[in-house]
Symmetry: C2
Subunit: 460 residues, 2 copies
């Protein structure tokens, strides 16, 4: 209020960044890298980072092995991650108890995107990054995508470029910084720090990096397998630049009711997950090349050998989790009195730290249910499949290629006309500003829902 006040006004700083992001989203072509050159650059990076990825027997995994006692799959050094078993008891869904392998990687990494103004328009520093599990090698990634071991360099290794932008941001430069979970069915309590930070003109793009407008990134989110999972989750944590005049305060449920619904779903249901040796899992078997479910469903744990086209990157081998079938993540949306709402489902996944998070309306692998009777299929799956042809967004996206082999899902946003009857307390309509609020705090929207939030924001 006074000229000498020490105080900072949160709301006006937030409005300022929103309007700057809106300008960046409106810039459909880039001032730094034109769309034509962007396509060339991506192709060029694909060639430069070409990898040869080959399935191999576990015996050929260098440095990895099955623990003699537990059967857990781990690296000899204790680094990277472990695949162990989980015995899960839940009163949340139709299946009360099951065993499954799970990836245990307890470290919190950084996924960060740097923002820099060019001619007054914020640009995002995106990275062309290859991962062995990607169907197409290189995808567009955040500026930094580093595990804690990476960035503290406890195991040696080269410095992570741009890391200091995120570890030592300038005062007032952090746009978003929040811990978010990743696939709760595949990761045990995995979470990463999702950051967006503004940087100055001293930060320049290296050869694997490009400054893109939000409009350019949004366009790429409309293409199959192009923007990787880590980039999508960080993008979902940006302040929502599509400001509605009015409407922000009005929704089908008050903010208190939405929070109460989440609390209730977490408190009234139990998911008890106990670690159990990989060798002791019921319903799973291991052969020379895979740990698989006896019905061939869900996923397998496999091994790959990776040879890089780059001379400075040595070959390596690692386990990957290979899902069976292409997933479907569908979000039903509708406007109520002009206010956009999405139908979210409170989901319990075994690896969640907090019992339940909000996922898309439908999230499953449809072929797992193809032969099953209607009543055991996920609610709204039939509607989602029937209505996909009129989806306003329908793109195949890849999940994290450093841990998953060819893990892909159809991400669909489907506008529904009328109020659907809600089949249970697991479902709730949540407004666009409420979703943005929930994304400021950890562990409310799961990683699939966050991809769909990023997708939603690309639609006018």
């Amino acid at each position: 209020m006074t000229a000498t006040t020490l105080l900072r006004p949160s709301r006006s700083e937030e409005l300022r960044i929103r309007s700057r992001l809106a300008a960046s989203a409106a810039a459909r072509d880039g001032g730094v890298l034109s769309n034509a050159r962007l396509a060339e650059w991506l192709e060029d990076r694909r060639r430069a980072q070409a990898q040869r990825v080959e399935r191999v027997p576990f015996a050929e995994l260098a440095g990895w092995g099955f623990d003699e006692e537990t059967g857990d799959l781990r690296h000899r050094s204790g680094r990277f991650f472990t695949v162990h078993g989980l015995r899960v008891r839940s009163d949340f869904g139709p299946v009360a108890e099951w065993d499954q392998p799970i990836i245990d990687q307890p470290e919190i990494g950084i996924l960060g995107i740097a923002l820099r103004d060019f001619d007054g328009v914020p640009h995002l520093l995106m990275q062309a990054k290859s991962e062995p599990g990607n169907v197409n090698g290189v995808q567009l990634s955040p500026t930094v995508q580093a595990t804690r071991s990476n960035y503290t360099r406890v195991h040696g290794g080269s410095a992570v470029p741009y890391l200091d932008c995120f570890r030592r941001p300038r005062p007032g430069s952090v746009v978003a910084d929040v811990l978010q979970s990743e696939q709760g069915s595949w990761f045990l309590r995995k979470r990463n720090r999702n950051m967006i930070v503004e940087v100055g003109p001293e930060v320049e793009a290296g050869e694997d990096f490009a400054w893109l407008t939000l409009g350019q990134v949004n366009a790429l989110l409309g293409a199959d397998d192009t923007v990787n999972m880590d980039a999508r989750t960080v993008l979902s944590c940006l302040p929502d630049w599509r400001q509605d005049a009015g409407g922000a305060d009005r929704a089908l449920h008050t903010d208190t009711e939405v929070r109460s619904w989440i609390t209730r779903r977490r408190a009234e249901h139990e998911v008890v997950a106990a670690p159990v040796g990989l060798a002791r899992l019921r319903g799973w078997h291991r052969d020379e090349r895979a740990v698989s479910h006896e019905r061939g469903q869900h996923f397998s744990v496999v091994a790959v050998d990776v040879a890089s086209g780059r001379r400075e990157v040595p070959a390596w081998s690692q386990p990957l989790l290979q899902p069976h079938g292409v997933g479907l993540a569908a979000l039903f949306v509708r406007r109520v009195d002009g206010v956009p709402h999405a139908l979210l489902r409170a989901r319990a996944e075994a690896g969640f730290a907090t019992v339940a998070e909000l996922g898309p309306t439908v999230q499953c692998t449809p072929e797992n249910y193809a032969h099953l009777p209607e009543e055991v299929r996920p609610p709204y799956l039939a509607e989602a499949l029937a209505w996909r042809e009129k989806a306003v967004y329908d793109v195949v996206q890849s999940e994290e290629g450093g841990r998953f082999l060819h893990a892909r899902s159809h991400y669909a946003v489907i506008e529904v006309e009328d109020a659907l009857p809600l089949v249970s307390d697991e479902f709730q309509w949540v407004s666009r500003p409420q979703i943005e609020d929930l994304l400021r705090y950890s562990h409310h929207l799961n990683v699939q829902a966050r991809t769909l939030v990023a997708a939603l924001r690309t639609l006018s």
Copy 2:
């Protein structure tokens, strides 16, 4: 906006409940139970619920025993809770590794206070409840204080009064509903659902219950050992009725910066806690009557036998955790350009689900540090002890008497004049509206900080 809108306005509903709570806080005497009668009623309830609590050897614990293999202390039925061991590795504080016993009670219970209007003023339904660990038997408790086993009655037992007010609240009646942690040094990932719900005139006070104004409850928060921990944490989750005109948006740090600080403290530090049998703890020993630390510090696990004065309540015995020494929880507060701020410390406690939560400026048992050199004492402890004489709030409060034996702390609010130099990134000044925001979402303020928030709100 239109007469037929389906939409609910969050902000105006919130303003309405705030102004109604302000009226209740202004009512220093009760319309339903006058202060004079309230004191009598509490005395009367103390007599009616008198308990005889006696320390006994573990061998006399009915139904409880030490597991032959692990040494864990558990009930034969698997009910209630378990005391097991924890091996903790942390890079957060000065001690890198330690062992400790911990109470494991994974269920999420309900702590709920019902609100009902009398002559247009909301009254809180408070319960006079005895617990074996209380120094004075009965304290003022929430309307409902129930574990999940209690309220789902999986083990039989009588119905919990008023439970349905919280399990099946009327639409639009929930004022607050959030999961909050409890003592992270004593409980493993314990959390309870903190609820405030409005009820109608059909809800009446039973003999152990009384309708009190917020002004009456606030006055009782100024008396030693009177309002129990469970009530204090629920009260801290009420919307803050002391609205400042203006100032809400201005603070020393933006909301984004405060959230980023919390994320950073959680991401950059590691607390790895692995369960280990109680018998295998290093530095702890067990005799017939206690599991204690070899230096006599921290706490002991002991056993008590409880005989109730009420004919319908049978005698029982149970373990309790008995802290050594009276704690100190001190909060430094100051106004910056008129906006109230509090100095919070990001604390890692072994039992937290999320690495770190925000605690008071100082939280420790001072006598543990009396003989130690200055540099290993907690930051600001010396200042807190020196400045306590000018504290604006200084009251002894009890921790949960159902699990802790005579666990008491001095809770002090101390106004500091100037900007203190902050000793590390563990400390940050957070504004009053920011604290309220953090309390709407789980696991940001620890239970000691929540008591101090409830205390702060009793000061004009």
